[in-house]
């Protein structure tokens, strides 16, 4: 269970935000709010790229805020820049094994399977990611996230730039994956309708303090 207890964050000289939230395994929670209210900063705090001012963030009772980004039980899907553009889709996905001590013998098979689960054909995997569409790129990043296998999934505006049809199909895929893998998923979005699309159990709206 992901628990955020009295978590306080904010840029220096800017108003702070406070959040208490619990997300169970297999559950999706949505944090919404206007642009600039601190949604991405919240995810940066949880992923280890920004220091919160106070509070606690724990997974299964263990506070992970003191840990380095690569030691935390989280995978972070940024709004953009999730992929190394000079690498193929396959190479991007296989970077998931870096965290492990040894690359598994069947790494290639695992990559292909993870991609296939997200509807990415094997023929696409050896192309440079810049040749893929926005939706396909998002799925490559998601495939890597699945292989990393961390139990907490952080998503920053995951459907921005998608058309309505793609938003629905991506939301379906995500909902299915979170349930299958028993992940705790925290999504931030400026669009409150994403709550419905994702079937989120919880929704928190951050106030605009500016």
């Amino acid at each position: 269970m992901l628990m955020l207890e009295n978590l306080v964050w904010g840029w220096p000289d800017a108003p702070e935000q406070t959040l208490d939230l619990t997300v169970r395994q297999g559950e999706i929670a949505l944090v919404s709010g206007p642009s600039g209210c601190g949604k991405t900063s919240l995810l940066n705090c949880l992923a280890g790229f920004m220091q919160p001012r106070a509070g606690r963030a724990s997974w299964q009772g263990t506070d992970f805020l003191p840990l380095s980004p690569w030691q935390r039980p989280v995978s972070f899907l940024f709004q953009s820049g999730n992929l190394f553009e000079h690498l193929s889709a396959r190479r991007n996905i296989s970077l998931a094994f870096v965290r492990r001590r040894e690359k598994p013998a069947d790494a290639d098979r695992q990559v292909t399977e993870a991609a296939a689960r997200l509807g990415l054909e094997a023929g696409l995997l050896d192309r440079p990611v810049t040749d893929l569409s926005g939706g396909q790129q998002q799925r490559v990043a998601l495939a890597r996230t699945l292989l990393v296998g961390q139990p907490v999934l952080l998503l920053d505006e995951p459907f921005s730039g998608f058309d309505e049809k793609l938003k629905h199909s991506a939301a379906d895929t995500l909902t299915r994956l979170v349930a299958d893998q028993q992940m705790a998923c925290l999504v931030v979005s400026h669009d409150a309708r994403d709550c419905q699309r994702l079937g989120a159990k919880k929704q928190v709206s951050l106030p605009d303090h500016r």
């Binding site: 992923a47 690569w70 820049g81 190394f84 000079h86 190479r91 870096v98």
Partner: protein, 550 residues
Amino acid sequence: MAGGQPLIPPALRAARLVPLRLGLGLGTLLLGLVGLSIGVLFWQGSREAGGLGSLAAGLFGPEARFALRAALLQASLSTVLSVGLGLWLARALVRRGAFWGRRALLSLSWLAMVVPTSVAALAILSVWGPAGSGRMLAEGIGLPLPFEQFGLGMVLLAHCFFNVPLAMRLGLSALSSLPDRQWQLGASLGLSARDYFIWMEWPVLRLAAIGSASLIFLLCFTSFALVLMLGGGPRVTTLEVAIYTALRFDFDLPLAAGLALLQLLVCAGLLLLLWYQRAPLLNQGAAGLPGWPRRDRAAWLARFGDWLAIGLLVLLIVLPLLSLLAGQDWQAGANLFTRPVFWQALLDTALVCLPSAVISLGLGLIFATALVRARQTGQRLAGRFIGFSISASLMLPALVLGTALFILLYQLAPPARLAWGLVLLANILLSLPFVMRLLEPRLAWLLPAQDRLADQLGLSGWRRLRVTLPALGDELQTGFALAAALSLGDLGVIALFGSADFQTLPWLLYQYQNRYGGAEAEMLALVMLGLVLLLFFTAGRLTRPAGGGR
């Protein structure tokens, strides 16, 4: 749309073409100057007995072969050492993030690139020369140094002094082109040092390595003052030094022309490579990398390697400059200020470097605007021509230019005044490529951003310039300081025409080092260093480091 550019109405297009045409005219003039210089030497040489034979000897003879071999060896070694250590340092600085000495190191690297060559040579001699503190210490503890008092080792050391910081800055600039999200992704994935290098750093550093290697090879291949002062004789030479010997001591014009042609051919090849790679001569924005968390930062091998690289940079740059300061005999050195020749040289230097900086800045502004307008109006060929003509001034040996123009003009003006004009022209050509590349990135953003408003308000010509110039304040100040500093330290054409009537500070320092040496030479070096620092502190550059290049 035409050629990927927005369609521009004819009236506006015509207005945009004015600076482009001006740039094309000046570019043609520059290329004409290169051709004229070589042509004059050929013409003068072929009029003399054995002229053509001497010209062939210049191109294919033993002197040329020897100088070419020596220059290639020296430039290759300098390049490998400078690029290797420079890129290693760039990685180290990125991995160490915002550590306490980062700002000081960046300022130091900028300083190292603008120190006058003759001052650096004297500073290096004060550590590793015959009576150098470092050499004496090493001999005292029985540690043999891998290089002699004068020779290839000293030249390599001096070239590293200037070019390691340059390669480091180009490497930092390349690494800073990676978006923040990629560094965060690397941290999230827990990449190791090897992973960072293979997947993130090498793909961008590879281009920086090629660009900086071509540029550094070019600078070392055409090196003059450092080879003259530290080479210790004919064993270590470059084509430029061979041209100097042919002109100053033998007055063998055809040989000098042949050697110059050889140098032009090699440099043209290198410049084409640079141009093809779009390698920057002067980089910007290298200081802004944030210190994202990295898993490999704590690894002992990475820590050892990073601090070793940083330590080597400090040893390479700080030690000679400190030694120059610490070894100063203030009382004996103060005699310098009682000598009229010093004040005369100071005045002559000011009369060269101030106008040269102003003219370089003006020309740089015209060329940079022309390049931006060439892109805006889709005139790619014109843009490439201008870019190449500016770079071409780098490959023309200053000595060849000076001699050719002297032959053309010596009947029209007294030698001292002619020498002033020639040194001024050589200095403008020396700093122009760097100044232009300092202004161009800013103008490339500024001009299109202001165009619509300026067009709507009817601002053009001088009125437009008055609006645009204040927005270029930082770049103009830095460009002025850079051009003045390069001019202040230049020991090129003055080596041919320096006389009692006209001599600059670098020329005086060269003479002092050769004939008298000691305290007054070191004091003079300190004065020159102080003037460069003054220029850059005035421009706010050392306190706000952002980019650099020599």
